[in-house]
Amino acid sequence: MRIVFKTSYLQDIRPWKDGYQLSLYLILLACALAAPLLLDDFYLGELTNVLIWAIAGMGLMVLTGHTGQASLGHAAFLAIGCYANIILLEQGLPFLLAFPLAGLITGVLGVIIAIPALRMHGIYLAIATLALSVLMDDIIVLSEPLTGGVAGKFAPPVRVFGIEIDRWGTPRAFYWLVLAVVVIVTLGYINLLRAPLGRSFIAVRDSEVSAQAMGVHIARTKVMSFFLSCAVTGLAGALMGLFAGAFNNETFSVVISILLLMMIVIGGLGSIHGAFFGAIVIGFLPQFLSISKEWVGALIGGNTVAIPGLETGVFGLILIFFVLFEPMGIYGRWLKIRTWFELFPFYRRDMFKRQKSYLKTERLR
């Protein structure tokens, strides 16, 4: 176990614990930067997909993991970001302007939606956002002149600093573009969590009443959380649209909303790492399933058959196991393993035990 001595007050709010931890993350970043040179185009595409999902996951994590507002409608914001980006590009705006604007538009729309949602709690918020996600499909069809309706839209190649970036033509450039966005968003997120705003998010999540007593403006905090969450999700949506190349009203269905929420639960609610772990699971699960299906098919000598709904079924099963046995997700499990090694042989089973709360309703009858 390493012991970090505190030599200055700034050390308490520094984003990294010590030089060792910082160097680990720098090595990870270097690996990520070098990935296009090591991987072939197919796996590079998969990796890009995982990174885009991680951005979306971070967007939802701000709202659900750190502010405690469960949203089942974030696919709607993915859609808004995606369409806003493409429509702005079609108006002739450069990508470097259209992309942040798409995020901003999504964030502002998120705030407009958040204002009535402030009064809702728990399941009512979940249901309202679910309804919003279902509605978004129809809204896209109805606003056909803007969105292309059922026929959908095609993403044009974009130019950044004179370099043409296209998902199929130049997958490496596209990967680096996504990686740049990931790094910026992650750094922003880390900084948010050590700023007063991020702290007040966590206070609202843990107890609204105590947060209010400590002087946190609940409504303003929630609106800010919605804004940041929706803006980041909009950015992810814009990248998703460029990555998919073509999309229509069914691309961002309500199932995507639910998958997004499940993803951050599997990864680990309330941690930035969780968004990445969840994205890795959701990104590589289809590949893993198709490989293992071939393997099983070869083993029993039969041919491989397509099983519709296999992915969501397996995903649901994984999620059930996580909710039952590891509510803190993959990141929580990793923390436990790491603590076991750091404290060896002093780790005890109940070190991460959480207090149970028994149900008491506020209903009158």
Partner: protein
């Protein structure tokens, strides 16, 4: 007369929504959690009955198959509670919600594996018959759906209001710990509630499959039932049925009088509107939180 016809068909549809919503309310009333898999349990109930009744599967007589499938689904509900929900005792509401969503995915997948993804209808003795009533043509199924739903809601309401077990269930939901101190077997009560919810889901499934075709993704109907439950306020059984009927009646009228494309968004827009105006449902039962 046309409008009356629309109302009747809307009522019959609304009854199915109302029955799913009834399942939400039952579980919410007893455990303060929302079962997002209720729509999928409805679908499973329908498929179990189809598997027992239809000629291409087991071919049992309809009136023999119905009690068996009711029993099976009640058993399924109890089993769910034993295996999954009971372990969530003392965890937050959101985790239960996420667990049931995942459960819905798994149920849909398994039903697709067993019964395939083709829409199927339940072969039942009431199919294709109708009653003429003045100028009105009522499908016998529609009449049966409405009657069964009203009877079921009434008996459940009386069960909660009058019987000892019903009161115990309410007490267990209001304050788990206090109910436990009073000698109520909270865990067993919760198991019974899940069994009951499974049974109600099965009734809804049978009625749904008798009226039209059911396929594994029919469980998504549950989203419309949310509308019903929200409109009715999550805590009240008659409210849930009323909400279901409102949603059911609005749908055919919307598709008739509002331009195509706008009509199918009516139920969801209604939910959003209700939640914005009355954040805890139309018949709200929550006052300010006490610390």
């Amino acid at each position: 007369m046309d409008n009356l016809q629309l109302v009747i068909s809307g009522l019959a549809n609304g009854c199915v929504y109302g029955l799913i919503a009834l399942g939400f309310v039952l579980i919410y009333k007893a455990t303060e959690a929302v079962n997002f898999a209720q729509g999928d349990m409805m679908m499973l109930g329908a498929f179990v009955t189809i598997g027992l009744t239809n000629a291409e599967y087991m071919g049992l007589p309809f009136w023999v198959a119905v009690p068996i499938s009711l029993g099976l689904m009640a058993g399924f509900g109890v089993l769910l509670d034993r295996l999954l929900i009971r372990r969530m005792f003392g965890e937050s509401q959101t985790s239960v919600v996420i667990l049931t969503i995942a459960l819905g995915f798994v149920i849909r997948f398994v039903a697709g594996l067993i019964w395939g993804h083709e829409p199927q209808t339940l072969q039942n003795p009431l199919a294709g018959k109708d009653i003429r009533f003045g100028g009105l043509v009522l499908g016998l199924e529609d009449v049966a759906v409405i009657t069964v739903t009203v009877l079921l809601t009434l008996s459940l309401y009386l069960f909660f209001a009058r019987t000892k077990l019903g009161l115990a269930m309410q007490a267990a939901s209001q304050n788990q710990l206090a109910a436990y101190y009073m000698g109520i077997p909270v865990k067993r009560v919760q198991g019974l509630i899940w069994g009951l919810a499974g049974m109600v889901a099965c009734v809804a499934g049978i009625l749904f499959a008798a009226k039209g075709a059911v396929d594994p993704s029919s469980g998504l109907l549950g989203i419309k039932a949310f509308a019903a439950a929200v409109i009715g306020g999550f805590g009240s059984l008659p409210g849930a049925l009323a909400g279901g009927l409102i949603v059911g009646v609005i749908e055919p009228f919307a598709s008739r009088y509002i331009a195509a494309g706008y009509s199918q968004i009516a139920p969801y827009a209604l939910v959003l509107l209700v939640l914005i105006l009355r954040p805890h449902g139309l018949f709200s039962q929550i006052r300010l939180k006490k610390v």
